[in-house]
C-alpha cells in the first residue's frame, strides 16, 4: 500500500508536481498516464525516495519514508525502468540475484527462486548466463522484472517498462505482464503514455497533466464521465494516433 499526502516538487523553480494526495490500494494495478512532463515519472521517483519532495509525505506499507529508513523500505519495492536499468557488467543471473546475494540469502534458495521467476516471466533459462548486451530488448525487460521481484516485494513500480520495445515484443510482454500482475496480486503502479496499455494493464487509470491529477477511474469513467475537456482531448489524440499507426502498418 502506498499513501501520498500533499506531496509537491519543483525542479529549477518550475513546479513539476502540485501538492498531490493519493492512495494506491493493495493488490491493485494503477496505471498513471499523461503527456510528457506531466509529472508521472517524478511521482514514481518521489515514492522511491530517489528524489526529495519540497513538501508532503510518502508512506510505504504504513511506514513514512525518510532518509533513515529509505534503504530498508526500498527492498519492499520492486522497480523497473524503461531501459531495464540492468547492470551491464553482470550476467542476467547476477543482476537478478544481486540483492539476495548481498543479503546473504542461502544460495540454493536463491537459485530456486530465480528459476521460478524465469518461468514466471517466460525467460529461457540459458538467457540467465548472458550479459545484458547479449539479450534482446524484451528479454532485458523480463530480466529487469525478475530482478524487481526477487525479494518478493509487496509493491512494484514500473516506469514506462515497454516504451523502448518494438510493437510485437511490446504486445507479447503486455500480455505476459497482465498475467503476472494478476497472478502475483501486488500493489502495482505503472507509468505509461500509452492509453491502450493503460486500459489493458490497469485496474484503474490515473490521468495527470501539468503536475496534478486530472481524473482517476476506469477507462469507461474517463470515456463517459470526463472530469474536464482535456480528458476527452487526450483520449481522442491517442486514438487518432493509434488509427494512424494502424493505417501506416497496413500500408507499410
Amino acid at each position: 500500500m502506498i499513501e501520498i499526502e500533499a506531496l509537491s516538487k519543483s525542479i529549477q523553480g518550475k513546479c513539476v508536481l502540485a501538492p498531490i494526495t493519493l492512495r494506491f490500494a493493495p493488490h491493485r494495478t494503477t496505471v498513471i498516464i499523461g503527456p510528457s512532463g506531466c509529472g508521472k515519472t517524478t511521482l514514481l521517483r518521489l515514492i522511491l525516495g530517489l528524489s526529495v519532495p519540497d513538501r508532503g509525505r510518502v508512506s510505504l506499507q504504513g511506514e513514512q519514508l525518510a532518509a533513515t529508513n529509505a534503504q530498508r523500505l526500498r527492498s519492499q519495492v520492486g522497480y523497473v525502468v524503461q531501459d531495464g536499468g540492468l547492470f551491464p557488467h553482470l550476467t542476467a543471473r547476477r543482476n537478478v540475484e544481486l540483492m539476495a546475494a548481498y543479503l546473504r540469502r542461502p544460495a540454493d534458495q536463491v537459485h530456486t527462486r530465480c528459476a521460478a521467476l524465469a518461468e514466471l516471466v517466460k525467460l529461457p533459462l540459458d538467457r540467465l548466463e548472458r550479459y545484458p548486451s547479449q539479450l534482446s530488448g524484451g528479454e532485458r525487460q523480463r530480466v529487469a522484472l525478475m530482478r524487481a521481484l526477487m525479494l518478493d516485494p509487496p509493491v512494484l513500480l514500473l516506469d514506462e517498462p515497454l516504451a523502448a520495445l518494438d510493437p510485437l515484443t511490446r504486445h507479447a510482454l503486455q500480455t505476459d505482464l497482465a498475467q503476472i500482475f494478476a497472478r502475483l496480486s501486488k500493489t502495482v503502479v505503472l507509468v505509461t503514455h500509452d492509453l491502450h496499455e493503460a486500459a489493458y494493464l490497469g485496474d484503474e487509470i490515473l490521468l495527470m497533466r501539468a503536475g496534478r491529477v486530472v481524473q482517476r477511474g476506469t477507462l469507461d469513467d474517463l470515456l463517459e464521465r470526463p472530469a474536464e475537456p482535456f480528458v476527452t482531448d487526450f483520449i481522442r489524440a491517442q486514438r487518432a494516433d493509434a488509427r494512424l499507426s494502424a493505417t501506416r502498418s497496413r500500408l507499410g
Partner: protein
C-alpha cells in the same frame, strides 16, 4: 599472454645467470670525467686479465664512494692522496705510508700511484709566460701588473689564495671569476693568471702553462687507487694486471684523455681503450667495441631493470592506493572535486627535474625516496581523473537502479559503480604506468638508479650508444607495461562491458 610470460621468464633467467657467474670485481668511480676514465681504464685492464668485472660509473662524491668501499659494494676506486688524507682521514699527511696507516684499521688500503697528480695549480697562457719568463709560481712575484682571475672557491679556501699569496709573497690582487668563464677571460688576455686543476681538459686547448709549485705550497693530490685490503688476495690475476698501471700515466696523458672525453665527445670507454691498447698493447674488449646489443644487456642490465621496475611499481602502487580514493571523493563531492583536480593538475605542470630539485631539500635526502615521491605525484593525475570521470560517466539510470534496489552506499560503490568505472580506472593506471616508466629515467639524476643511469652517464659522456642503451630498454619496458595492462583489461573487466 604467453609472450609476456616468456619475456618475464627471460628477465628472471638473465638475473640468475648474472648471479651464477662467480664473483665480479666491482670498480667504482666518482662523478667527474677523470674518475670515469680511470675507473674505465682499471675495468678494461682487469677484464683483459680474465676477471669478470663491473664498473659502477659516477656513483657520487668521495663520501659515497668511501662508504660503498667500506661496506663492500665496490672493491676499489680511483682517488687522490690529498683527498683521502683530508676528507677521509682528516690529516695533512699525504704520503702513501701515512694514508695506509690510517686506512688499515678500516680494512682498506691506498696504492698503485698512477704517476700524475691532480691538484690546484696556477696557469698562464704559454706565450705570455714565455714572454715574461715565468715557469714557477715564485716567478710571479716581480710582476705586480699581472691580473689574477681566481675561482670564488679558491679565493676563499684557507689552502687557496690567502695562504698561497703569503707563502710566495705575491703582490697582485685577485678578482673572483666563475671557473668556466676564467678560460674565456684568459684566452683574449683579459686576465693573465687563473687557478686550475692540474689535469684540466682545457689546459691543452687554451695553450696554458701550468706553473710549478716550487715552494710545495699545494698539498699532494697524487692519483691512486683506494681498495679493500683483501683485493690482491681475492682477485690475484686482476691485481697483477692492475699493478702495471703504476706510474703509467703522466699529467700530459691525463690532460689529453680528459680533453678527448670532454672536448671531443669521445666516450670514456673509448678513451680508456685507446690508452690501454697504446700502453699495454692488448686490444681489450671495450664496451663500445662490442656488439651494441651486448651493451644493452651489459653487466648492469639486471640491476638497472630491477631498480627501474621497483621505482615504477612502488610509486604506482602508492598512486593507486591514494589516487583511486581521491578520484572517488572527487566524483561524489563537488567542492572536493574542484580542489582535488586542480591540485593534481598543478603537480603535473611542474617539470620533473624541478620537482626532484624541490623534493631533495624537503625530504632531506637524495636517491630512491624523492624519486618515488616524484613518480607517485606524477602518477596521480591520470588515476584520479580517470576514476572521477569513470564514476561520473555512469548512466544516471544505472546509478538509480542500484539505489532503488536498496543497496547501501558502500555496497553500491563496490558492487556497481567501481566495476562499471573499472575500465576507465584501469586505463588511467595504465597511462600512469607508461608515463612512469619514462619519467623514472629522470630519477637517475638524483642517484635512484634504473635505466636512466645509462642515459645520464651517456649524456655526461657524450656517448650516444650508451644513451640509447638506456633509452631503448625504457621504451621497450613501456611497451611491455602497455601490453601487461591490455592483458589485465582482458582479465579484470567484465565481458559484459566489452561489446
Amino acid at each position: 599472454m604467453t609472450r609476456a610470460l616468456y619475456i618475464s621468464l627471460a628477465l628472471v633467467m638473465m638475473c640468475c645467470a648474472h648471479r651464477a657467474l662467480g664473483e665480479d670485481l666491482v670498480i667504482g668511480s666518482k662523478r667527474f670525467t677523470e674518475s670515469y676514465i680511470l675507473g674505465e681504464i682499471a675495468t678494461q685492464i682487469v677484464r683483459s686479465a680474465g676477471q669478470t668485472t663491473v664498473h659502477r660509473q659516477g656513483m657520487g662524491n668521495t663520501a659515497i664512494l668511501f662508504e660503498a668501499l667500506k661496506t663492500g659494494q665496490i672493491h676499489l676506486y680511483p682517488d687522490y692522496s690529498g683527498t683521502v688524507a683530508r676528507e677521509l682521514l682528516h690529516s695533512d699527511a699525504t704520503d702513501l705510508d701515512a694514508l695506509n696507516r690510517g686506512l688499515r684499521p678500516l680494512g682498506l688500503a691506498a696504492g698503485l700511484p698512477l704517476g700524475f697528480e691532480n691538484t690546484y695549480a696556477l696557469a698562464m697562457r704559454e706565450e705570455r709566460a714565455n714572454a715574461l719568463g715565468i715557469s714557477r709560481i715564485s716567478d710571479l712575484a716581480p710582476h705586480a701588473e699581472l691580473r689574477l682571475g681566481l675561482s670564488h672557491e679558491f679565493l676563499q679556501r684557507s689552502d687557496g689564495w690567502p695562504g698561497l699569496r703569503a707563502r710566495y709573497a705575491l703582490p697582485q690582487r685577485a678578482v673572483g671569476l666563475d671557473h668556466g668563464l676564467a678560460y674565456e677571460a684568459i684566452a683574449p688576455g683579459q686576465i693573465d693568471v687563473m687557478d686550475i686543476y692540474s689535469t684540466d681538459a682545457k689546459i691543452g686547448r687554451y695553450h696554458l702553462r701550468v706553473l710549478v709549485d716550487d715552494k710545495n705550497y699545494f698539498p699532494r693530490y697524487d692519483a691512486v687507487f683506494v681498495y679493500r685490503l683483501d683485493v690482491p688476495r681475492r682477485f690475484p690475476l686482476a691485481w697483477a694486471a692492475l699493478t702495471k698501471l703504476e706510474n703509467s700515466i703522466d699529467a700530459q696523458s691525463m690532460i689529453a684523455m680528459n680533453a678527448k672525453a670532454e672536448l671531443e665527445g669521445q666516450s670514456f670507454a673509448d678513451v680508456a681503450q685507446a690508452f690501454v691498447s697504446a700502453r699495454f698493447g692488448h686490444a681489450t674488449a671495450s664496451s663500445t667495441g662490442a656488439v651494441w646489443w651486448r651493451r644493452v644487456f651489459g653487466d648492469d642490465f639486471a640491476r638497472l631493470t630491477v631498480q627501474h621496475l621497483l621505482l615504477v611499481a612502488v610509486s604506482l602502487a602508492l598512486a593507486v592506493l591514494i589516487g583511486v580514493p581521491l578520484g572517488i571523493w572527487a566524483a561524489r563531492n563537488e567542492a572536493a572535486n574542484q580542489a582535488i583536480l586542480a591540485g593534481v593538475g598543478v603537480i603535473q605542470t611542474v617539470p620533473a627535474l624541478a620537482l626532484l630539485a624541490f623534493l631533495i631539500p624537503v625530504l632531506g635526502r637524495i636517491g630512491i625516496i624523492p624519486a618515488l615521491v616524484a613518480l607517485f605525484l606524477y602518477a596521480l593525475l591520470p588515476i584520479v581523473r580517470n576514476t572521477q570521470s569513470g564514476l561520473r560517466d555512469i548512466a544516471p539510470s544505472l546509478r538509480e537502479s542500484a539505489i532503488a534496489l536498496g543497496l547501501p552506499d558502500f555496497a553500491r560503490l563496490r558492487l556497481i559503480e567501481l566495476p562499471l568505472a573499472a575500465r576507465a580506472i584501469l586505463s588511467g593506471i595504465k597511462t600512469a604506468a607508461v608515463i612512469s616508466v619514462g619519467t623514472a629515467t629522470i630519477a637517475a639524476f638524483i642517484g635512484a638508479g634504473g635505466y636512466g643511469e645509462r642515459i645520464v652517464t651517456g649524456l655526461a659522456l657524450n656517448d650516444h650508444a650508451l644513451l640509447l642503451a638506456g633509452a631503448l630498454p625504457a621504451a621497450l619496458l613501456a611497451l611491455l607495461v602497455q601490453l601487461l595492462f591490455d592483458l589485465l583489461d582482458r582479465w579484470l573487466i567484465s565481458p559484459g562491458l566489452r561489446r
